[in-house]
């Protein structure tokens, strides 16, 4: 049982920390993208894409968390 708890904490760390990292990365890109959009509205599409690029970090975190939980079940 104690092991399951540690696994859960591991999964939470994998997901949570990567979410924070994605947040930090997206914060700056998002701010810059909004700035660019204020100058030129057509940049919305490109701005959106650039902003969601770090989204991968949190997805990888989520995948790793799911794999860790899978380990717990095994």
């Amino acid at each position: 049982m104690a092991e399951a708890g540690l696994i859960a904490i591991g999964a939470a760390l994998a997901f949570g920390l990567s979410a924070i990292a994605a947040g930090i990365a997206e914060k700056q890109i998002g701010a810059a993208a909004i700035g660019a959009m204020a100058e030129k509205e057509e940049l919305f599409g490109k701005g959106l894409i650039l902003t969601v690029i770090p989204e991968s970090i949190v997805i990888f975190g989520l995948v790793v968390a799911i794999l860790i939980i899978g380990m717990a079940a095994a």
Binding site: G45, K46, I49, I53, I59, L62, I66
Partner: protein, 664 residues
């Protein structure tokens, strides 16, 4: 389907005397995308037509009138042109006279209004001065200019001592003080010889004089005079409103004329300015442009017709340097998906237009991520409803796309057997559902019999063995889709490079990536023992592909190699977002609402509220998340394999219902 509309580049040489009729014809055809001529030593740019200046003048005049009347030009013009009025029937002199008439009308009414305004303002000034005096209860005759008396009227900071101070100065004075709003107003009359001393005293009470010049010469009580003036002012205001109403009436009466004339002048002015885009010699104008292949014959015969066969039309071969306009052409089903390219960038003329492929992949990705029958139905209805409410064409395209995505969500909901996150129902409901013929089947779950919905794949718990690990099936499906999608992108990149840089470059730059994957897969599976092969074969193919890549894309290509892996793994998000979405739904059902629903009684109500709120939030997340992730997989992972973009939109010269619609 896979390419934008095919274009033909035309160069037309026409004598100047036919230019006007030619431009009129081109305008009504509305198919020629005209390329601007850059001034060279040999060929100067054309001159605008002589009528141009006059038209521009009238255009400015009519714009100012439309502004003055605050007419909504954008909406009405497109309605008018498309539906009822044929503005081209009007003649220029009619329009000119009409504009002049309206201008005169406006200026005479506006003058009257300004005169009235001046009188009203004058009366207001008098009223303000009267208002100060009203509280003093002195007749207006008192405020004349006297020969022997000095008069002070104004505001002070009142202190009773002022009466003593004045009495000390002279007994021959009259002092009135009263409250006027928040301030004290004072009138002081005394012989002229004390004027300076009185001024000194008043200074200590912060005296500030009030202007009363406008009331001098008036008679009677200030209140009476003020009431009379107010009545007069009200009357004048009524008159002013009557003028405003008249202006409104004229605005309504002339709206049709103004808007149609505006449209007419605007197109005429465009026509008159068009030769600025041409090249010209002494007698000849030369224009270059693009027409869709299917309109070519019609265009050529029309030009020959208006120029009495004197125009020389040359079909120029399209080269790499040409900026060929891009017109995406798709069936009605696929057209909404052009939204994604409009948002990103149009493909260049020779590039593959991926819209028809996005038509399949976008709903697919979205469906896998959201995948729930009930959610899909709710979002489908929601987007259908929004479509009736929103008129902007771009938003409409997006909503159509989202309706397709909702349909995919419903389909995948059946595949996963998920209904608002429920995979099964309890015995009672399940039994009654089964008895009306639904294909549910009973299973034992934690000691209870539950009825499960039919499904092809268990999204939440389905697992697969891979190299000794058990991994969620949806994650593996995600990776497989990523593998297919990226290689599809690489093949499309191959075709793009083939048409722009030839076979050798296309082969080394794009096929090398596919060989690389083949090598990597062989190497890993032979090392794992999945295939009976020496690991050297895989390693050899891998090395070969790296050399090919180096030839094709240089050092940069080598740096990109790990990127390919992360690109494919990025498609794991299809599974991960799917798990998060269904996970949240299960939490809402079982952990949040479940306990209340089991308690019974009033708690059921609370449970239902939690269910509704929770699923509303999950649907909102479930629309935004999968939309952005699906979009991103296309733009970042898929497009980078083949798409360059930067195409210019096809904007033919002339009346074109479609182009008007697009512009709005």
């Amino acid at each position: 389907m896979l390419y934008s509309q095919r274009m033909v580049k035309l160069r037309i040489y026409v004598h100047k005397k036919y230019v006007k009729t030619l431009i009129d014809k081109l305008h009504s055809l509305g198919v020629l995308h005209i390329e601007e001529h850059k001034k060279t030593d040999d060929l100067d740019i054309g001159e605008s037509m002589i009528a141009g200046n006059e038209i521009a003048e009238q255009l400015v005049a009519i714009r100012s009138i439309i502004d003055y009347f605050k007419l909504d030009t954008k909406l009405n013009i497109s309605n008018l042109t498309i539906h009822n009025v044929n503005y081209q029937k009007q003649s220029f002199s009619d329009i000119k006279n009409g504009i002049k008439r309206i201008q005169q009308l406006i200026s005479s009414l506006e003058n009257k209004k300004q005169d009235l305004q001046k009188i009203i303002e004058n009366k207001r000034e008098v009223l303000e001065q009267l208002d100060i005096l009203t509280s003093l209860y002195l007749d207006l005759e008192s405020y004349q200019s006297y020969k022997t008396l000095s008069m002070f009227v104004g505001f002070i900071d009142y202190d009773p001592k002022i009466r003593n101070d004045m009495a000390e100065l002279t007994s021959q004075h009259k002092l009135h003080i009263s409250q006027n709003g928040k301030r004290q107003v004072m009138a002081l009359f005394l012989p002229r010889k004390y004027e300076l001393q009185a001024e000194e005293i008043l200074k200590t009470y912060n005296f500030s004089p009030a202007a009363i010049d406008k009331v001098q010469g008036m008679k009677g009580s200030p209140l009476g005079a003020s009431n009379k003036l107010k009545a007069e002012e009200a009357f004048l205001n009524q008159e002013k409103e009557a003028i405003d109403a008249e202006l409104q009436k004229h605005a309504r009466q002339n709206k049709q004329f103004l808007l149609t004339s505006y449209k007419y002048l605007e197109t005429e002015s465009k026509k008159a300015m068009l030769p600025l885009h041409f090249g010209q010699t002494k007698h000849i104008n030369i224009l270059t442009g693009y027409v869709p292949k299917e309109s070519l014959e019609n265009t050529i015969s029309s030009i020959n017709n208006v120029s009495k066969n004197s125009a020389y039309i040359e079909q120029v071969e399209i080269t790499q340097k040409d900026k060929v306009p891009v017109n995406l052409k798709h069936s009605r089903l696929v057209t909404p998906f052009e939204f994604f390219l409009n948002l990103y960038s149009l493909p260049k003329y020779k590039e593959i237009d991926p819209t028809s492929l996005i038509f399949f992949t976008f709903p697919l990705f979205f469906g896998i991520m959201l995948g729930d029958v009930v959610y899909g139905i709710i979002t489908l209805l929601l987007f259908r409803f929004l479509k009736t409410k929103i008129n902007s064409p771009n938003a409409n395209k997006l909503l159509s796309v989202m309706m397709f995505a909702s349909l995919a969500t419903i389909a995948f909901g059946f595949v996963f057997g998920e209904y608002m996150g429920f995979e099964s129902v309890n015995e009672e409901i399940g039994y009654s559902l089964k008895s009306i013929g639904l294909p549910l089947h009973a299973v034992m779950h934690e000691g209870n019999t539950v009825y499960e919905f039919p499904r092809l794949l268990n999204r939440l718990h389905g697992e697969m063995e891979l190299f000794g690990y058990s991994i969620n099936t949806v994650l593996i499906i995600g990776a497989i889709i990523g593998f297919i999608h990226i290689n599809l992108g690489l093949l499309m990149g191959f075709l793009n490079e083939l048409s722009s840089h030839g076979f050798k470059h296309a082969f080394f730059a794009k096929i090398s990536w596919i060989v690389l994957q083949l090598g990597a897969v062989l190497l890993i599976s032979s090392l794992q023992g999945a295939v009976n092969l020496h690991w050297g074969v895989g390693a050899g193919i891998l090395a070969l592909s790296v050399i090919m890549l180096f030839i094709g894309e240089g050092i940069i290509g080598l740096i990109e190699i790990p990127g390919l892996l992360s690109n494919i793994l990025s498609y794991l998000r299809l599974g991960a977002v799917a798990l998060a979405s269904v996970g949240l739904a299960v939490v809402i059902n079982e952990q949040l609402a479940g306990p209340f629903l089991h308690k019974g009684g009033v708690y059921i109500l609370l449970g239902v509220v939690i269910l509704i709120m929770g699923h509303a939030v999950n649907i909102a997340l479930g629309v935004i998340g999968p939309f952005l992730h699906s979009l991103r997989l296309h733009y970042v992972e898929y497009f980078t394999k083949f798409f360059h973009g930067g195409g210019i939109p096809y904007a033919p010269f002339g009346v074109n219902e479609k182009s008007i619609k697009k512009a709005n």
